[in-house]
């Protein structure tokens, strides 16, 4: 090749070189953006671990707060959050997925369906404090649930419903039409098609929506503040009609409302809160990866 007299037809041109520079530039730009995004998250985590880490102990996790919440543990808040999130999920996941299945698989594309879609998108944009007031009006007063886990969880559920619907809808839509047509052409009903082909192939996407919802629900404060979460209540709830403490509200309280709180305490609560969310996310992601591995396309 070395003494070849011909020109190399694959040789790099001036244009290739300048294009490569641009290519490199954008690559670096996008990479930097990604790092910039990760940086605050990493910093927050580092600070929480550094300041809150020493607080974490068996006693902190599993005992009641004492001395006006300036000492002791966070057990009632921890359990309360688990209650609130579970009941909210129990309500919003079946409802949201069912609505998404209807919209994606059954509904015709007409003005009514479009209106519903519009309403869902708008619902996602409603500020959480508005949901809180709605919750007070509807669940606490009108339905007479009082300030209770039920009222708070329903409020949380309503608030996160649009996320579940939209993400489930998207993942149902991602299943290629050809699969449905293949099923129908063998005489499968709509439900058989959904049950055997569409749902199994979109469940990983639906789960992503649920993960998002769990994270959001765990951290919300405003919607539960007036509907069911208590300032200080050192007992564990026994039914959904009880009030309860919650981690997010407890964090707000110990960092702004109570005097003489040791400096590490709020950080400890925040660390537990974030730890809970991350653990749930990690578990769901692992589950999702497992499901995706079983997906056939």
């Amino acid at each position: 090749m070395s003494n070849s007299p011909e020109i190399n037809i694959f040789a790099e041109s001036e244009l290739n070189i300048s294009n490569k520079k641009t290519e490199g530039l954008f690559r670096i730009l996008y990479m930097m953006m990604t790092w910039l995004l990760i940086l605050p998250v990493a910093t927050i985590l580092a600070i929480l671990v550094y300041k809150g880490g020493p607080m974490i102990s068996f006693e902190f996790l599993f005992s009641n707060p004492i001395k006006g919440m300036t000492a002791g543990g966070i057990f009632p808040a921890l359990i309360g959050t688990v209650w609130l999130v579970s009941v909210a999920l129990l309500f919003s996941v079946p409802l949201g997925v069912a609505a998404a299945i209807y919209l994606s698989e059954y509904a015709k594309d007409n003005w009514f369906t479009r209106m519903i879609n519009l309403a869902i998108i708008n619902l996602a944009g409603v500020p959480s404090i508005v949901h809180a007031l709605f919750g007070v009006g509807a669940f606490v007063l009108f339905f007479g649930f009082g300030t209770s886990i039920l009222a708070a969880s329903l409020t949380l559920g309503i608030m996160t419903l649009p996320v579940v619907i939209v993400s489930s809808y998207e993942s149902l839509q991602a299943v290629p039409m050809a699969f449905r047509e293949a099923c129908w052409s063998m005489g499968a009903t709509r439900w058989q098609t959904i049950r055997r082909i569409v749902l199994p192939n979109s469940v990983s996407g639906i789960l992503t929506g649920v993960i998002l919802e769990v994270s959001r629900t765990t951290g919300e404060t405003a919607p539960i503040m007036f509907t069911g979460a208590a300032f200080f209540l050192p007992y564990l709830p026994e039914s959904v009609f009880d009030q309860t403490m919650a981690l997010s509200l407890h964090l707000f309280v110990v960092s702004t409302q109570v005097p003489h709180v040791p400096e590490g305490l709020p950080y400890g609560v925040a660390l537990v809160l974030i730890g809970m969310v991350l653990t749930m996310n990690a578990a769901s992601i692992a589950f999702r990866t497992y499901l995706r591995g079983r997906k056939k396309w």
Partner: protein, 264 residues
């Protein structure tokens, strides 16, 4: 070195030597030695899964995007190794055009589709006049026998054309960048008989100016539309001969079996 000095003036457009290719641990090509002549149409036939697409995709280096592909041996196009250190990927792709099984016009107007490649390879500083672009577009569309059909609505979306017209467009958009070789992977299999005939006719028209390697499942098409024919089986080349000879008097039994439709 004698072979090298005949490089771009030589007889062959694509030469592969001891080409082996693995998808992960699955070997798809075995010692493929081929010399495909310049300025003619060569067809490649063989049962599904025998590695025809794989061969084409390693010539223009599309396969290497898949992280798990391993290649040994060499492929030269116009006498130059496409996998050489100093071979610029973008230039390799520019010199080796490809037409796919399903027509894949870009979601742009007909006009923008045709001029897309040309714009990619023109420096910004070099102003190309609208008139020059129009000429290129007209020329390309004329070569694919589409000009009369679309000349009055070049602004239309290309995706609204019929499949046959889309496939012609996909061939036409390669022409402004003047590729040395055009690879076609079953370009007619998504078309009806009329569309197939029309695209075949056009491929035949192009043969004087371009070197074409076309994969087909259609014996009649291979026979009608190519000067030389390659028969592959399970990742190996069984026979490579002038088309007339192969179809009248195949050298290998497997070739005869396949041509007569005993498997495939």
């Amino acid at each position: 070195m004698s072979e090298v000095s005949t490089a771009t003036t030589g007889k062959y457009s694509i030469e592969s030597e001891k080409l082996n290719l693995w998808y992960g641990s699955f070997q798809a090509l075995f010692d493929v030695d081929l010399r495909i002549k310049k300025g003619i149409i060569t067809s490649m036939i063989g049962p599904s899964g025998c590695g025809k697409s794989t061969y084409l995709r390693s010539v223009n280096r599309i396969n290497e995007r898949l992280g798990y592909v391993k290649i040994t041996g060499s492929i030269k196009v116009m006498g130059q190794n496409v996998y050489a250190e100093d071979a610029e990927l973008v230039q390799v792709r520019k010199q080796i055009g490809m037409v796919f099984q399903r027509p894949n016009p870009l979601p742009l107007s007909i006009r923008d589709n045709i001029i897309f490649g040309h714009r990619l390879h023109t420096p910004k500083s070099e102003k190309v006049s609208v008139k020059k672009e129009d000429e290129l577009i007209e020329n390309s569309l004329k070569q694919v026998l589409l000009w009369d059909k679309v000349k009055d609505n070049l602004k239309r979306k290309a995706t609204e054309l019929s499949l046959e017209e889309q496939q012609k467009l996909c061939i036409a958009r390669l022409l402004p960048v003047k590729p040395a070789v055009i690879l076609m992977d079953e370009p007619c299999s998504a078309l009806d008989p009329k569309g197939t005939a029309a695209v075949e006719e056009l491929i035949w028209e192009l043969r004087d100016n371009y070197t074409i390697l076309i994969v087909t499942h259609n014996m009649a098409q291979a026979r009608r539309a190519s000067e030389e024919c390659i028969f592959m089986l399970m990742g190996k080349v069984v026979e490579h001969a002038p088309t007339d000879e192969m179809f009248v008097n195949p050298e290998h039994e497997e070739t005869a079996d396949y041509i007569e439709g005993r498997y495939g």
